[in-house]
């Protein structure tokens, strides 16, 4: 039978595709906000310079020739680009779909209508960090809450998918119950995602005011696990307290019962992104991920993306990270959770330890417990 699978496309870790399926493109280094924990600003690896329209359009042609399926437009604030209609036209012409990572404040009916007309917009992710302006604006600046909600309403009027992301920090950890009710009941969203502010970019200078301590982290985990059950799985996470709460419970149960190692446990298996996606900084430098902006792989329109994708030693080293056993790290010495641990985000590992090939201390269960944390 010629057919394979329909709508079930699972990347293989052992084989490299001929080209990435999707890319994250930081199409601008400008932003209308200066959030106190932004990973993008105050990163010494990033050159804060925008490319002209023609450079992006030429790159989109290359992506089209490679059969890239999706691009995520990020920044900075991607809706700040005055040439957005031209950029979207280039994406559509090259048979791709797109999504956005945004603070929402620049989205009005004109922008929402533009996205709707293309028929190719997967979703717009809007950051909402509080149930009210007082909480949200505490880290994102005055007026940013009203702007985000206006943007979401505009997207909803034009039937564009809205994916809200809540970044959890010290100023909103006590507001999670209200946030859940506001987003799912008042705004009528089908679901929303969560993560936590990480020790990157601007956050490094504000860490004491932003990052959760052990007690707050426990509160966030407990509240999110309860809300997730209450709302029937409508709250998701790929990182942060909800993920930690779920994963750490599984790890503790496995350790206590002496269960065999998890299939992806005991090695640096997180994350799998380099098998199917890659990123481009605002200045046109190709990097494995926006969280690994210091690993420069080449430059768009000068270096072949296919060549980088297939043969870059730095990218292949990252792909082979999964072969590195945790047991070899002094950081993990004597840890009983090793068979169940993935080492977590290499971006956070780098910013916290200076090494990409290192487990991330941020997601270390033993460290959390030794720091006064507990899991229910």
């Amino acid at each position: 039978m010629p057919g394979g699978s329909e709508n079930k496309i699972e990347p293989s870790a052992s084989r490299i595709m001929r080209s990435p399926r999707s890319l994250t493109l930081e199409i601008t280094a400008r932003c209308n906000l200066r959030c106190r924990y932004c990973y993008f600003f105050n990163n010494p690896a990033i050159v804060y310079r925008d490319l002209p329209t023609d450079e992006w359009l030429a790159f989109f042609d290359e992506l089209g020739s490679l059969g890239v399926m999706n691009v995520t437009l990020a920044g900075g604030e991607p809706f700040i680009r005055e040439d957005l209609p031209s950029l979207l036209e280039g994406i559509v012409r090259n048979r791709m779909r797109f999504s956005f990572l945004s603070n929402g404040a620049l989205i009005g009916d004109d922008i929402a209508a533009l996205l709707a007309r293309t028929g190719r917009c997967e979703y717009v992710q809007v950051s909402v960090d509080g149930s009210c302006a007082e909480v949200h604006d505490s880290c994102r600046g005055r007026g940013s809450f009203d702007g985000a909600i206006r943007g979401i309403r505009a997207l909803q009027r034009h039937r564009i998918g809205v994916a809200v992301r809540v970044t959890i920090h010290r100023n909103n950890v006590h507001d999670l119950e209200n946030i859940g009710r506001f987003l799912l009941e008042d705004l009528g969203l089908s679901d929303f995602g969560t993560n936590a502010a990480g020790y990157m970019g601007s956050c490094r200078g504000n860490a004491d005011d932003i990052l959760l301590n052990a007690e707050e982290r426990m509160e966030a985990m407990a509240t999110l696990l309860r809300l997730s059950a209450k709302y029937g799985g409508r709250i998701s996470a790929q990182a942060g307290p909800l993920t930690d709460g779920r994963m750490w419970l599984r790890m503790e149960e496995a350790r206590a019962q002496g269960k065999p190692a998890f299939p992806n446990g005991g090695r640096l298996t997180a994350c799998g992104c380099p098998t199917h996606k890659i990123s481009v900084r605002a200045d046109g430098v190709i990097v494995p991920c926006t969280m690994l902006a210091q690993i420069e792989l080449g430059r768009i329109n000068e270096d072949s993306l296919a060549e980088i994708w297939q043969n870059s030693p730095a990218l292949n080293q990252l792909r082979n990270r999964h072969t590195i056993p945790l047991a070899g790290f002094e950081f993990c010495a004597g840890c009983l959770y090793i068979p169940y641990c993935t080492g977590n985000c290499p971006g956070l590992a780098y910013t916290l330890t200076g090494q990409v090939d290192h487990p991330s201390p941020d997601a270390c269960l033993r460290r959390f417990l030794e720091g006064g944390g507990a899991i229910a």
């Binding site: 039978m1 010629p2 057919g3 394979g4 699978s5 329909e6 709508n7 079930k8 496309i9 293989s12 084989r15 490299i16 595709m17 001929r18 080209s19 399926r21 059969g67 399926m69 559509v92 048979r95 791709m96 779909r97 028929g119 190719r120 997967e122």
Partner: protein
């Protein structure tokens, strides 16, 4: 579709050849994607609006030694699936 039909590919469809000649057919207008094996890729590349399904099946038998007799039906079923999802169609004949 009938064996004598001459399907034509929707030009918007993306053929992503991934590894070992396996591929994904992707419709960016609907986000629908279908994975396919090397035979499916070969069939897709032969769909040009001029060849009939039976001609395509004959070429596949030559290209893929050992293809079973049932492959004709499989190819028609595959193209039917492509047609149902807007990946291929039939050109209207002018009267």
């Amino acid at each position: 579709m009938n064996p004598t039909d001459r399907p034509i590919a929707n030009p918007i469809i993306v053929l992503r050849e991934e590894f070992d000649d396996w591929a994904v057919l992707f419709n960016p207008d609907t986000a629908y994607a279908a994975g396919t094996n090397p035979v499916g890729v070969a069939v897709w590349k032969l769909i040009d609006g001029r060849r009939s399904l039976e001609e395509i099946a004959a070429k596949i038998k030559i290209s893929f030694e050992g293809a079973p007799e049932a492959s004709d039906k499989d190819i028609v079923a595959f193209v039917d699936m492509l047609a149902e999802n807007g990946f291929v169609g039939l050109e209207l004949e002018e009267k």
